[in-house]
Symmetry: C7
Subunit: 100 residues, 7 copies
């Protein structure tokens, strides 16, 4: 089985543990998956890549770090099943804001 | 709950509090949502990101700052529900002008 | 109400007051809106943005200034209603020529 | 009315007076407009813009000048009616060759 | 027959030996190929190219090396049949993370 | 009438005199125009432009010169009728190889 | 007739002699052309172009040379009939790996 700590995202990618939320709306209606995906999600950054390579061969550092809580937009993230968890790998450009 | 002050937009993104307007037209007809979205909207800038990273690794500073009142074009902004408020995260390039 | 003088376009955007023209053709037929939009329009530049930011962080100055009379192509400009006037915000790249 | 001499194209745009040609083919058939537009046209350059702005803020000079006779490809040029003439504004990149 | 050791990927390409996985789901249903291709796959890097050529003529080195175990996204990789094995050639940009 | 020697292509464009070939296939069937256009054609370079302008304002010299025999791919070249000849103006990037 | 040795590819193009393979599958079924084109092919590099021109006017050298055996992906290469042979001209970027 893959060890979470051994996962090193490449380039400007980031490993995210999504935060589950209460999925029922106020009226108690369950929001279907397609609707949820169009909203920003919360998650915790587990590890970050070294950054994209610039034309001059330098790594462009990321603006986030492991431990940051972030909002991101989930369209079709790459899902990694690690044990019973589903982690996500997304590009830093899909992260909207640090929220804590 | 997320604290507005702790939200730090990334890159050239901006956190906006949209200004509600009277939605009835002069004739009293309610403008449907799709029509409204095609018009520029007003909002207040709550916080701004550090700017995009240039190829040489420098942050390109934004031309707006927290407190600015702006006009922006809302197609499909990312909405954040913070308490009872709906805030928006948009890219600086979607902001048309500072209006006050 | 917004004060025209306080509107500061961002980046390479320009605030334009469109010049109304006689909309009847020689034969007296009214040209429908869709047809008109495909032709260049005249307008007066009210204010200009600071220019786009180059990769090295410099503002690239615009080639037009407030007071210029210009021809521009109007597809879907952003319209601002200021009092009874409809002003437009367009990118400098949509301006074809200075005509006076 | 607009004075031709006062029209200053922006960026890499060029003001062109198209040269009319005999529109009948050898067999005497009139070529419809859509067919004609797919062929290169002749014109005279009346004035040229200052050139595009490079990333370093320099104007990139045009390779043509007022007075040049040119071949260009007309898809959907911007037409300016100046008195009884129809002039065109096109980008230098739409000009194929200088022919005299 | 091609010798694996003699295969030298070009540019930022990477030669990968995909790791087969148990294809049955928990319920015992066989996942069809189209569904599997949308998930990240595991593989072992056999060799890497010299990197893309930058505008200044330098090779931009890859962030992975032969022997790395990686997760990648397989849409339509180029397949090489070498003996009884099917190897893949993919671009480094399709590799999500090093996992060991 | 246009004089061939006075035609000066702009940018990276090239004036070509296409070489006619036997149009019948082995079986004697005439290949229709659409089919022919998908194959590379031969031609003679009559004159070449000064090259594209780089971002720093330098002309990027062409790799071919007047007199070269070349293979090129003809999709929708711009045709110039000069007297009884049909010449072509194409971009250097559409030329595949010098063949003599 | 064209002499193979006199063919000089331009830019980053490469002249390739494709290697024919056994076209029958194990079951003896003939693979139709469309299916074959989706798989990488083998070929021998006969000659290479001088490389693309960088923005600063330098040729960016190719990573392959005449004599290399390569795998490439054939979608719609330009075919040159030279005597009884069909040679291909492809861009270096369509070459996946050197295989010998």
């Amino acid at each position: 089985m893959i060890n979470i700590k051994s996962i090193k995202p490449l380039s400007d990618r980031v490993l995210i543990r999504p935060v589950s939320k209460e999925e029922k709306t106020e009226s108690g209606i369950i929001i279907p998956d397609t609707a949820k995906e169009e909203k920003p999600q919360e998650g915790e950054v587990l590890s970050v890549g070294p950054g994209k390579l610039s034309e001059s061969g330098e790594r462009l550092p990321l603006g986030i770090k492991a431990g940051d809580k972030v909002m991101f937009r989930k369209y079709s993230p790459d899902e990694l099943e690690v044990g019973k968890e589903t982690l996500l790998i997304i590009s830093e450009s899909d992260i909207l804001a640090i929220i804590g």
